[in-house]
């Protein structure tokens, strides 16, 4: 693997772009990297470590600091679970409960049934997956064009993209709803999907990432070899963009899953996403906080699963080391 990486820059025009790219891609395989990882004397072995950026071993201090970060990050979610395992009455008392009570499953069951979370989870999965796939794909394409290609008005268009991020979107939901209503789409899932199929954030993010992470020389070399644009995208851009695509996918998925203002305006509980469905909880003059917390917990769980799926993809470093070296 390292041999492949090393020979690559020395023979820019000799092998076909495809071969080069595939070799380069193999460098990105986590499995391969793991195998190539020097077992002993890791710190000394640094010169042989190509690929995924720096991979120094974490010391005990690192683990300690990360543990602190982790505890602070997890605490509210854990407390949500604690609250979901109690009764509404107990939650009003001081000090608030700090450990689990016996009502978790009862409350989860109640939240699931009252909010009709089955349909909602299905809809949210559909919505969030579609938005994620489309945002990641189109952001990568546009971000690549902005980062590495020359075209008329590219500067102005990028500024326009960034500029629109500066205007808060909360008010735009009013004209947007009027429009969706004209299209006859009230309460339908596409009203939630279509407006967020692409985001200015995503395009700007990919642009900034690719400016740095994708060596221009690599594209040039592929061009010299006569590679067409789709081929360059497939074999050079996508592999290089993979860690950023995974992060963007992760962030977009969570955003789409948790987005509530527009979905609540646009949908109702007959065809809801999870955030819309959760509104069915806590009704009556005495909302049951424990059930509300159980709903919040249930709505977060699928995200944790999605995290595990995406999280593994955030391994990076393809061939840049070899290119620039």
């Amino acid at each position: 693997m390292s041999a492949g990486d090393l020979t690559f820059p020395q023979a820019p025009g000799e092998a076909g772009a495809k071969t080069k790219a595939t070799k380069a891609q193999t460098g990105g395989e986590p499995g391969t990297r793991a195998k190539a990882r020097p077992r002993g004397g890791r710190r000394l072995g640094r010169p042989r470590m190509t690929g995924a950026g720096r991979q120094l071993d974490a010391g005990p201090v690192t683990y300690a600091v990360l543990t602190v970060f982790a505890l602070v990050s997890l605490a509210p979610l854990v407390w949500t679970a604690v609250a979901a395992s109690r009764t509404d009455r107990r939650l009003a008392e001081t000090p608030p409960p700090l450990w689990f009570g016996g009502n978790l499953f009862k409350n989860l069951q109640a939240a699931w049934d009252q909010a009709g979370l089955g349909t909602a989870m299905f809809n949210s999965t559909l919505v969030a997956t579609t938005i994620t796939v489309s945002t990641v794909l189109f952001s990568t394409l546009a971000g690549f064009a902005f980062a590495k290609l020359r075209f008329r008005f590219s500067g102005a268009l990028l500024l326009l993209t960034i500029g629109t991020m500066m205007i808060p979107p909360q008010l735009a939901v009013v004209p947007l709803y009027l429009w969706m209503s004209d299209l006859g789409w009230s309460n339908r899932l596409q009203t939630v999907v279509l407006p967020t199929l692409v985001t200015a954030f995503g395009t700007f993010f990919m642009r900034q990432y690719l400016v740095q992470a994708l060596p221009t020389e690599l594209i040039e070399a592929a061009r010299v070899d006569g590679a067409s644009s789709p081929r360059i995208l497939w074999h050079v851009v996508f592999p290089a963009a993979r860690p950023a695509m995974a992060v963007l996918g992760l962030l977009t998925f969570v955003f789409a899953w948790n987005d509530f203002l527009w979905p609540i305006i646009a949908l109702n509980q007959q065809n809801p996403t999870v955030q819309v469905a959760l509104n069915s909880l806590g009704t009556g003059y005495v909302p049951d906080q424990a059930v509300i917390m159980a709903g919040a917990l249930l709505s977060t769980l699928p995200l944790l699963i999605a995290f595990l799926l995406f999280g593994k993809q955030i391994v990076g470093g393809i061939m840049q080391g070899a290119i620039k070296g």
Binding site: T32, I265, N271, V286
Partner: protein, 441 residues
């Protein structure tokens, strides 16, 4: 080898996108607009009409079994409730949908804070229910709030919030105050200032860690809720700074805020709930619907300690209406359901469930709170206290910006004095500035 496995990801990913897109479109094609027959999947057989009821969640129809009962009476009707719990999102959503002319529910709930705006700006979007229902059933002022100048009634009254004072007998005893509900009511009868005076007395011997009331805003709210002229006069002019009712309520709240008798809580905060649980305040101005809240949050520790006495002056806090948007595709059925849900018998059933007080006086003789609740509040005659209050509530002139003006006074003016140590004059000035901003001046 590895190349081939990697490359196979591509087509798979694209196939997934394609499948999702198709699935999405197919899914969208399947669900037609709400309200149409068989629209929402759960409907059942052919020809069954699904009615949707849009609310902000406090009505308790589901919990009281009213939907089920109606569906049993009318097998061709299915009822679904669409809830948006945050009222600050619910109302903009309804306004947008009304004006878009689509997506409204067949029945749309309107909170009292929004009713005047609805009457003044959205009357054309609602069916005139005055022609459909027997208007004499409702309290006059309740009906008037939902009726336009030319006599169109856009919403039927659901509950109201007649005011009483809930108090902790045990704490009163320790502070050496009267504990009998009739005698107490006698002591403060006619003026909330007398209630606050009693607070001063309470604070002299207050049990450790307790205050007289939960918040100064609470007594303001109760006092202003009994004034017929508050922020608008009957011709719709903004008169809040000249209004007698506002001035009096403000003064009472200022006395409360500046004499250390308030627990300085903010209502509906988690800490407010804790205040109930820990018994940190001895009284609260309580509309009927708050009864259940107090019982739940105070828990077992408050059982038999809470009592209810008549308020100094009759006042109303809260309540709602049900309207039928003209955009509803099943107006006839929706009107029938709205009439049924707001009929005295049904209002009595909701009262039995969660103490939402009916706006139809004919229901009053038959009101029965739950036995537990009565016991919890020391066997106070809840029905009688609230009915008496309800019958004497004066008509109030509301305006389109009633809610934000009210919030400007309570959450800016009073809070500044209560929690930030500002003088009453400063608080008033701050509220005035805020209201100017609200009115866009």
């Amino acid at each position: 080898m590895r190349t081939s496995t990697r490359r196979s990801h591509g087509p798979v990913a694209f196939a997934a996108v394609a499948a999702l897109t198709t699935g999405l479109l197919a899914g969208c094609a399947n669900d037609s607009d709400d309200g149409s027959p068989d629209a929402t999947g759960g409907g059942g057989g052919k020809g069954r009409i699904t009615l949707t009821v849009g609310t902000f969640g406090v009505f308790g129809y589901q919990q009281a079994g009213l939907y089920d009962e109606y569906m049993k009476l009318h097998p061709d009707i299915a009822i679904k409730e669409n809830v948006t719990t945050r009222t600050d999102v619910y109302w903009p959503k309804v306004l947008t949908r009304l004006q878009a002319g689509s997506g409204t529910d067949d029945i749309q709930a309107i909170e009292v804070g929004n009713i005047t705006e609805a009457v003044q700006t959205q009357a054309a979007k609602f069916v005139d229910l005055g022609k459909e229902a027997d208007k004499s059933q409702w309290l006059d002022w309740k009906l008037a709030q939902a009726t336009t100048k030319d006599g169109k009634t856009i919403g039927l009254g659901t509950d109201i919030g007649p005011m009483a004072v809930c108090y902790r007998k045990d704490l009163f005893r320790k502070a050496g105050l009267e504990t009998d509900r009739t005698k107490l009511a006698e002591q403060w009868k006619g003026d909330w200032a007398k209630y606050v005076d009693l607070g001063k007395q309470y604070m002299k011997k207050a049990p450790k860690g307790t205050k007289f009331m939960d918040s100064a805003a609470s007594v303001y709210n109760a006092a202003v809720g009994g004034a017929s002229e508050r922020y608008y006069d009957k011709d719709g002019n903004v008169v809040w700074d000249k209004s007698e009712g506002v001035k009096k309520a403000w003064d009472v709240a200022m006395t409360a805020a500046t004499s250390d008798m308030s627990a300085k809580l903010k209502q509906f905060d988690p800490t407010w709930d804790q205040g109930f649980a820990n018994g940190t305040f001895a009284t609260i101005a309580c509309p009927a619907w708050m009864i259940g809240y107090i019982e739940q949050k105070s828990g077992d520790s408050g059982k038999g300690k809470w009592d209810v006495a008549a308020a100094p002056t009759a006042a109303n806090w809260g309540g709602s209406f049900l309207g039928v948007p003209t955009a509803s595709r099943h107006q006839k059925e929706a009107i029938a359901l709205a009439k049924w849900l707001t009929a005295p018998e049904q209002q009595a059933k909701v009262f039995a469930k969660q103490a939402s007080f009916p706006s139809t006086p004919s229901a009053y003789p038959s009101l029965k709170p739950q036995a537990d609740t009565t016991a919890y509040f020391s066997d106070a005659p809840l029905t009688q206290i609230f009915s008496d209050s309800a019958k004497t509530i004066p008509a109030q002139y509301l305006g389109p910006k009633d809610k934000p003006i009210d919030s400007a006074i309570a959450d800016v003016g009073i809070l500044q004095v209560e929690q930030k140590g500002k003088t009453p004059a400063q608080g008033w000035e701050a509220a005035a500035k805020e209201i100017k901003d609200v009115l866009g001046q």
